[in-house]
Symmetry: C2
Subunit: 230 residues, 2 copies
DNA sequence: ACAAAAGTGTTCTTTGTACACCCATGA
DNA sequence: TCATGGGTGTACAAAGAACACTTTTGT
């Protein structure tokens, strides 16, 4: 602490890209802003990092304040630092993402005034977003699409028990293309980390499908070498 | 500009991970610090972002001031925001990396006082670095290792004309494992983006190897679909 | 009985991997 | 002539891609 650092009036913030999968549609969480700038616009949940909290902690806190969601496994994906990205001053923002089960979450309840409300919105039809949030979305979504091929991130979006058809539908929603049913199932099952349950799907007016679980322990065993990758 | 943003005394900085390949050894660029804190320590070239420059611009400027190198194709890889990572206050830093040709560069000539000198240091034997720079190095190096399998980043480290053995040596240095000569060559040539030159290696006391060039145009044509990936 | 989705194999192509010897050159 | 790295091919295994019909169930 011997010498002083030069101080600039600059701020950093967090913006969160929270994906969910509901009724076969891929969605993200948006807030409707109740304050200027961009009052009444839709935006990614995001706000300013405090001086005494790490980025990861800030991401948790901010998401909670703006949406009511808590303790999601968020990961950083990119930092956006264009000089004029915020109309009120220099704000550098760190983008975080998470993939979650929509229905496992309580109702969306922002506590901060900035968020008038929080909603799930289909990614295929996003409105114009505040600030450079559309860029942030695009960058983050591209990253997730790439990661889908290497990491078991899809299971975070599904209920604990799911059918292979649901899983395939999710892959198709994220990758935005049709996949071959037989090849998809063969490949998924060949990994060995899906656990077949005795229980079957209920309440459908056609042949009930088998339910599966994602088995984290098996996954960790099988891919312990590759876990170095993130 | 209607309302004021809350202002915290926080700072962001850039740290650069510059890789080079010299005499068959993978190296990174370090500075020896001439100022507190961590005076006399080795560190990654890094300093504070000004208020009126983007992160990318700041990375270029800072690297130039601390090492004399200019206009490298640097890319952001991660942002480090632990509260106590800097002993003098809250400093969030954005990590950038680049891979370059060591010999294509002029002498290393820092202009900023902070860098007493800049040197190339083998990655296999790094000293303790200032701040959390060892963590930053590990994270960045891991990223590059992964990227090596998907992107033609190795060619940035080699002279314009190179032999297949040199290329293989570089892959082996980055991945830290031996590769099979025949399989390596077959695979590289099968991509179709290496251009065989008529010119051959000179000045060696054994059979002269063919020289190759990396053909960016062909690469772009072949992989235009996958270029969405970064 | 019919509508709707579940479930299932084979063939071919591509990619990866293991492995060892002769060749050309300069000293 | 010898030491040094340059250069080459084959066989097998694994993974990916194309492709269509029968089965189960609820209504």
């Amino acid at each position: 602490m011997e010498e002083k650092l030069p101080v600039f009036e600059s701020i950093f913030s967090i913006d969160c890209l929270i994906f969910g999968f509901e009724a076969g549609v891929l969605k993200i969480l948006l807030i409707e802003r109740g304050d200027e700038p961009f009052k009444d616009w839709f935006a990614l949940p995001g706000y300013i990092v405090k001086q005494d909290e790490s980025l990861d902690d800030a991401a948790d806190r901010i998401l909670y304040e703006l949406t009511g969601l808590r303790d999601l496994p968020m990961k950083q994906f990119h930092t956006f630092g264009e000089v004029n990205r915020h109309p009120q001053g220099r704000v550098i923002t760190v983008g975080y993402y998470a993939l979650i089960r929509v229905n496992s979450q309580k109702e969306l309840r922002p506590t901060a005034h900035l968020a008038r409300k929080a909603i799930w919105h289909p990614v295929s039809d996003l409105p114009k977003l505040a600030f450079d949030h559309t860029d942030i979305f695009n960058k983050g979504f591209a990253k997730i699409r790439r990661r889908l091929n290497h990491q078991p991130i899809a299971f975070d979006l599904l209920p604990e028990k799911f059918t292979l058809t649901q899983l395939q539908g999710l892959y198709e929603a994220i990758l935005d293309k049709k996949l071959d049913k037989r090849n998809f199932r063969k490949k998924m099952l060949s990994y060995g980390f899906l656990k077949e349950l005795v229980e079957k799907q209920k309440g459908v007016s056609y042949r009930a499908a088998k339910l599966y679980k994602f088995d984290k322990r098996k996954y960790a065993k099988i891919f312990q070498n590759e876990l170095t990758a993130e």
